[in-house]
């Protein structure tokens, strides 16, 4: 396998040039993509590129080289420069590759590769993108003719070698289908939306990401696209005051990401800054159990090993509201005197970063419909408008702009284009009073419906 040879070669080179330890990750990426707009192909593309990341360690000092373009001579030259660069860095005893005996056993078939996806021709991609566009167009006659669909298939060979004996490769196919459409906001007679009047346009889209041909559900993409558009048409401002809040799964996954940040090694160790608490603490409602499972067959971030060669496993991160386990790579694991949890992800840092694999909040008993039916006045939040970077556990307060539907007497009445919801961050997580039974594991970080007893709502638009 070409990429595995390349990884091995880079590790050998590093040793020869004076590195104490080295590790090379090679991702050979073959990609095909199509963009369709109004039944016309705008762009077809294909690429074949290898991304090489080499970590080198010398006297506990770390350097990283990242390379696109993989000629033998280029590799040799750049490895030498990276070995020289280690002398600039400060020593750090927690740096180093993972010993193979700590890597764990190779898992069975993880269902992340589908030859049928790898074999798709550009022409076949085009047919699928056009079909996706038709499914959206056929769903709702309020859609104007402006629909775009982009479809991309990646076939990656990922190889990892290190100087402690780890050597393995896997192949993964990933198809991403994005459909979007524009709907004119004619149905806004009762709205107070200012300014744009008759010409208001709304755009909505949805994405399907899957490792297999069977997961490519065009109908699901179309339904989600229409659902997103409908959540905006005819919007009116919300009332202001303290109300119960229901987070639909599309918004609740962002709540999950705040919990995951609290439990990640870098935040715990470097920032020491989550206002929710530390390991062993009760950091949220006892209804919350949070699982990270990189070994789940077909999962979006499922892989036979992480970027350091650690095999994936299922971990209960939060159990009944109590912070039980960190998300770690080998660097943070050594620093916290634990084992890596297999959550390493390569980046430009010598210690690499940490990210959740397939992380979900376990479903509860409540049906979302019954939760809505029990509310006299409240807010059904479907989306966060605040930038993702703002959703952190660092701030003491939870203040975010959201969109959704207003609930009156147990029913969704009208969309709300924008409102802020706020409360103290610890209070928000402690006062989760219901967890829905509607977990859909389609996505890397997901959650069922979550209900918070009350938050301060201020209308914005």
């Amino acid at each position: 396998m070409k990429s595995e040879e390349l990884a091995q070669r880079a590790v050998q080179l590093a040793g020869r040039r004076g590195a104490d330890q080295a590790e090379a990750l090679v991702v050979q990426l073959r990609e095909k993509a199509i963009n369709v707009f109004n039944r016309e192909t705008q762009l077809s593309g294909s690429s074949d590129v290898s991304h090489i990341t080499v970590r080198l360690f010398k006297q506990n000092r770390g350097a990283v080289m990242m390379c696109q373009g993989s000629s033998e001579r280029a590799l040799e030259d750049v490895v030498e420069r990276a070995v020289n660069a280690t002398s600039q860095a400060a020593p750090d005893k927690f740096l180093g590759p993972v010993d193979e005996k700590h890597s764990g056993d190779a898992p069975g078939d993880l269902k992340i590769f589908d030859q049928r996806l790898a074999d798709l021709s550009i022409q076949r991609l085009e047919e699928i993108a056009l079909n996706a566009e038709s499914s959206v167009a056929g769903k709702d006659n309020r859609i104007s003719s402006l629909i775009t669909s982009s479809f991309q298939v990646q076939d990656q060979t990922v190889s990892l070698c290190n100087s402690l004996g780890f050597k393995d490769s896997y192949r993964v196919t990933t198809a991403s289908l994005i459909t979007s459409a524009v709907m004119s906001d004619y149905y806004n007679e009762t709205g107070t939306r200012s300014g744009q009047g008759d010409e208001a346009k709304l755009a909505g889209g949805a994405a399907i990401i899957t490792h297999t041909m069977d997961g490519l559900d065009l109908e699901k993409a179309a339904t989600r696209t229409i659902h997103q558009l409908n959540s905006m048409v005819g919007a009116r401002p919300s009332p202001s005051g303290w109300f119960p809040i229901i987070f639909a799964p599309t918004a609740a996954r962002r709540i999950n990401s705040i919990l995951l940040q609290t439990c990640s090694g870098p935040v715990a160790m470097l920032l020491k800054a989550s206002s929710l608490g530390k390991i062993g603490d009760s950091i949220c409602s006892p209804l919350i159990t949070l699982v990270d499972d990189g070994s789940r067959a077909g999962g979006i971030r499922t892989a036979p090993f992480d970027h350091e060669g650690v095999r994936p496993r299922r971990k209960v991160i939060i159990e009944g509201g109590v912070f039980r386990e960190y998300l770690l790579n080998s660097y943070y694991a050594r620093a916290l005197e634990r084992d890596s949890t297999g959550n390493a992800v390569a980046n430009e840092e010598a210690r690499y970063s940490v990210r959740p694999s397939n992380a979900y909040i376990e479903p509860g008993a409540s049906s979302p419909d019954s939760l809505i039916a029990d509310i006299k006045q409240g807010f059904y939040v479907t989306a966060f408008l605040s930038p993702a970077a703002q959703l952190t556990p660092v701030a003491a307060n939870f203040v975010h702009a959201v969109a959704g539907f207003w609930i009156e007497n147990g029913k969704l009445t009208h969309p709300v284009r924008a409102a802020t919801i706020s409360a103290s961050l610890p209070d928000t997580f402690k006062s989760i009073v219901a967890v829905g039974n509607d977990l859909d594991t389609d996505g890397a970080v997901v959650s069922p419906t979550l209900m918070v007893s009350k938050m301060n709502v201020e209308p914005l638009l």
Partner: protein, 520 residues
Amino acid sequence: MSIKSKLNRRAFMQAGLGAGAGLALWELYRTNWGSAAADRGAASLLAFKEMGLDDARLVRLLQTALDKSGQYADVFLEYSVGTYMIFDGDRMQTAGVNVTSGAGIRVISEGSSSFCSTDDLSWESLVRTAQEASANARAGGQQQQRVAPLKPLVIPNLYQVNAPAAVEPAREKQAQVMRMIEAAQKADPRIGMVRTLYHDTLRFITVATSDGVIARDTQPLMKVNLSVIATDTEKVKTAMGVFSGGGHYGLEYFKEHSPEHIGQRAAEMARHQLEGVAPPSGEMPVVLGPAYSGVLFHEAVGHGLEADFNLKGYSAYANRVGQMVASPLCTVYDDGRRENLNGSINFDDEGIASRSTLLIEKGRLAGYLHSRETAAKMGAQPTGNGRRQSFNFPPLPRMTNTYLQGGDATGEDIIRSVDKGIYARFFSGGSVNTTTGDFTFVPMEAFLIEKGRITAPLSNVLLLGNGPEVLKRVSMVGNDMQISDNLWECGKMGQMIPVTVGTPTIKVDKMNVGGIGSRS
């Protein structure tokens, strides 16, 4: 001073540069850096010379790409090398080296693009890539186009530097970074974590087009980003501050811009947030401070003026050229030709010279930002805004340095005119829906205005609005136009590129302010 006297070969090699074209690069520096346009071209030529990619071969590739009936083809070659350093406090945690090399070949046929890329610059691989781009292109049925004789694009150089930072010794870069870290640490005892990323690249590009342009450029880029976290244990409050600097400069940047300033500004932002009070909420006048508020216009207005969104009818500005879309006080330019700025380019990634493009003139929409493709489809001239992250991406219409022109009022007058409102000075980020123009912005630094005076700093503020609406509600424009010295990276369809923003002080009569409300 010529590079020859400053660097010997060994120092150059140790600077972390290299890969296949190391020797070719060294040739370049011996022939003197950046004194004339021809040298830039020569540098890029040398970088690709050892791969045998001369004009004759580029013409052959273009002809192969047009083999099956395309109307236009281009070849984009890239070779870039860089170094970076990451610091935790004053400890260098990682030293790094980056190399990117490859080619992107595109064919446009009957309004549809076929784009193929490879990281293998061998002749066989390039021919294969051109053949694939040709095979995937839409069938046109016309007779084969001939490639026009290649004529070099020669234009003045916007990035004159003493020496690209990528070839300077590491200790000189580190010395500048340590000064900014120390300034941040000293600024306030509540500052805990200081994190700094220094990064430089030297990028050689060549664009050859079937209509006869050959453009070669060498782009030096240097940037540094410092972030701090400050904690007030008594108030149980944590805050972040971030500031950056750099552009198309060498290390002489730090002679004109003190490294201490970067550390102090990041620390000051964190301090303002720690001391901040809860903002009022609801609709109120908002004064946007000079320079950095330009990012709000970049996001909420600028993207809506990129031609691809308008071509598809997605933008709030579609089919509006000639119409009033803003207050008559607003004039907006995108200008890729400002010396050394982060967003500047000698020519775009399609071989079109950069220029200054008037987008909005006294409130009236004057035009859009074009790539070759959108210009052809809309019957307009390309504006030199066809940009791409790397060889691995097709070009898109993108902004360069986008700014609002200054007006008559002084900044003080504008603040004095507000009885109760908000002064927003620095933004950490935002999100925009390009179709509706709706945006959410999070000021990292904002203050309360009471009775015409800036009083308390604010924390946890959100600004919500609609880009086109906000432009209509601009009631005062300051005479203090400033280009942001903080660097910005702009993302679109998965491609990141360097840009610059700028604006004078602006008063927006009404904007939605959110936060933990004082109204409830």
